[in-house]
């Protein structure tokens, strides 16, 4: 972890337009994940309120909660690819010479693209597979939670692509946006 101390992009190098676009996309992902997080508070809070004040336990809160949780995870995890925040052990890679370190970064990019690709492709397949079946307790498709998963997978691929040829993380200093 703590990538910012281990991979520092050349200090004042201007970021390419493509990377700036990805920066924006990562911020957007974090923003949506944040809204999902706030949604979790609202839904769980409403569940308590409805149970005591309205004496009614809404049955839609559980599926909606799980959808919001999947959204917060998928988009947060995708943005973490761009910001290189995922838990990793740098011990060995750090000891290696520069070309090997680039190789390690490329391997990470390849693995990330493979996993993101599987999440995107099969997530979409599972989403479509259950789209006509109604979920118990809420007027939503049974497979709706695969929507954020496949979206997150696609974003992981997108964020990992530049690292494939640059061989380095597109690390940015993360202001609390």
């Amino acid at each position: 972890m703590t990538p910012a101390t281990t991979h520092t992009a050349p200090p004042a190098a201007p970021r390419a337009a493509g990377l700036r676009l990805l920066d924006r996309l990562a911020s957007l992902s974090i923003g949506v994940a944040g809204i999902a997080l706030l949604g979790l508070v609202v839904v769980q809070g409403w569940q308590v309120f409805a149970r005591y004040v309205l004496n009614d336990s809404p049955s839609w809160t559980e599926p909606v909660t799980l959808l919001l949780l999947a959204t917060a995870m998928s988009l947060g995890a995708a943005a973490a690819v761009h910001e290189d925040r995922h838990f990793r052990f740098h011990l060995l890679a750090q000891a290696l010479p520069e070309p090997a370190r680039r190789g390690s970064e490329r391997l990470t990019a390849v693995v990330t693209i493979a996993i993101g690709g599987v999440l995107a492709a099969w997530g979409t397949r599972l989403l479509l597979d259950g789209i006509d079946i109604r979920m118990a307790g809420a007027p939503l498709p049974q497979s709706i939670a695969f929507l954020p998963l496949s979206l997150g997978g696609a974003l992981m691929v997108l964020f990992a692509l530049p690292r494939l040829w640059r061989g380095a993380a597109a690390t940015i200093e993360n202001g609390e946006a």
Partner: protein, 427 residues
């Protein structure tokens, strides 16, 4: 063969610097393909991995912790605690362990515990000059206490895995003495480290100052009381309590302390989202990896090994403990309980081990795995909150590991620790 492929791929990728979550997923994908199973399992199990309601407590408690920290609640709580225990070296570490004992009794979950207690304590300990690694390590091992304090959902899970022959009330009683022993041992370990590192002591500020700090901290204490009483009295679930904590923390900091502006609020949301994404993704991919461990019947292979080396009660228990500790480095606690109980309990029973004692040993051994690499969700949550690398935590966590393992061995060797209280309460 497939077992070797699974662990081999994972370890190689991990050592080459591939993130833990992606190493777990890639090793699983390779084995799925090698077994001829559809890779759709990957997506399904990643989805299922976060499909458990109790996980929702994680992001919400992290979020509440962010608000408490930026909104001045934590600061006042810690300032009160420091006034009370400041004369002890590493006093805040002691506070961390004790809060785990009390809060663990509420949440029943080590992960919820480390998000709630660690989210508050770690940043404040750092602010007061404690090393980050100490702050993280004392808080994450303290979360082990929560595993055994009722209402431990892990003990309920164990009773389900046994097949219903064990009274849950008895199990809860069995866990109490081991939990207290763990509390004392960890507090002592924390004290010794604090002495060696020379963490400062704070002079007692006088009764007047304590009263003033108490008044300032009252709204924050109200939050702790709200969560504790709320769950105990069945007003809300642990997950709902996390949402209530967020709302309450927001109200206190907006209406009373007036410290949280719009920018700080957005910062809290963004930070909590980042942490949530990283933690939940590694938990979800660990669930996938665990699915394959179950599918490949790894624990059954371990028990075969056991049969070859052990032939008396203590050897059997100690070998089981070693196997559980090894499995625990890779597996999460809940799947370990579900998978290992039907395999190991019959063996243990055959050698005269009481199922109540076996339950406390299993939960403790598996729980220690939560704070060991390469797969340990409590370790992940703690290091993310403390903003340190896993390697950094590992360099100085070993005294806590030794302490926890010592407690585990004592609990395994002395059945009275687990069996005395249930028998007493029954009589």
């Amino acid at each position: 063969m497939d077992i070797a492929l699974l662990f081999g791929t994972f370890l190689v990728l991990l050592l080459l610097g591939v993130p833990v979550a992606y190493s777990l997923a890639a090793a699983s994908l390779v084995v799925l393909l090698s077994l001829g199973l559809p890779s759709i399992v990957l997506v399904q199990q990643v989805g299922a991995g976060i499909g458990t309601a109790s996980l929702i407590a994680i992001p919400l408690f992290i979020f509440a912790g962010e608000i408490m920290m930026r909104g001045g609640i934590s600061e006042r709580l810690i300032s009160l605690a420091a006034a009370l225990v400041g004369r002890i070296r590493g006093g805040l570490g002691q506070v961390s362990v004790l809060s785990s004992l009390f809060f663990g009794g509420v949440s029943g979950s080590a992960i919820a515990d480390v998000s709630a207690v660690g989210g508050t304590m770690i940043p404040q300990m750092v602010n007061r000059g404690y090393d980050r690694d100490f702050a993280v390590n004392v808080s994450i091992t303290a979360a082990l206490v929560a595993l055994l304090v009722p209402p431990s959902h892990n003990l309920i899970l164990y009773s389900a895995a046994v097949g219903g022959g064990i009274s849950i009330a008895d199990l809860f009683a069995a866990g109490i003495l081991p939990a207290l022993l763990m509390t004392v041992t960890l507090m002592f370990t924390g004290y010794m480290i604090a002495r060696r590192r020379g963490y400062g002591v704070e002079p007692f500020p006088g009764m007047r100052a304590v009263m003033l700090r108490l008044i300032a901290a009252l709204p924050g204490l109200g939050l702790v009381a709200l969560i504790f009483v709320g769950i105990r009295a069945g007003i809300f679930t642990a997950v709902e309590s996390a949402a209530v904590a967020v709302v309450y923390a927001l109200l206190v900091t907006l209406a009373i302390y007036r410290m949280l502006d719009w920018k700080a609020f957005r910062g809290a949301v963004a930070h909590a989202s980042r942490t949530t994404g990283v933690i939940l993704f590694v938990i979800a991919t660990a669930a996938l990896f665990g699915w394959l461990l179950a599918y490949l019947q790894v624990p059954a292979a371990a028990v075969e090994l056991l049969g070859r080396i052990a032939d008396d009660r203590y050897t059997v228990l100690l070998v089981i403990v070693v196997i559980l500790l090894l499995l625990g480095t890779f597996m999460d606690l809940a799947p370990m309980i579900l998978i290992c109980t039907p395999i190991f309990l019959p063996v243990a029973k055959a050698f005269g081990v009481d199922p109540l004692q076996f339950g406390t040993v299993l939960v403790l051994a598996g729980g220690i795995g939560l704070v060991t690499p390469p797969v340990g969700s409590v370790l992940f949550v703690g290091t993310a909150i403390g903003k340190i690398g896993i390697g950094e935590s590992m360099r100085s966590i070993w005294p806590f590991w030794l302490a926890a393992i010592a407690v585990l061995i004592v609990v395994a060797v002395f059945p009275q620790l687990s069996l005395w209280l249930p028998a007493l309460l029954k009589a």
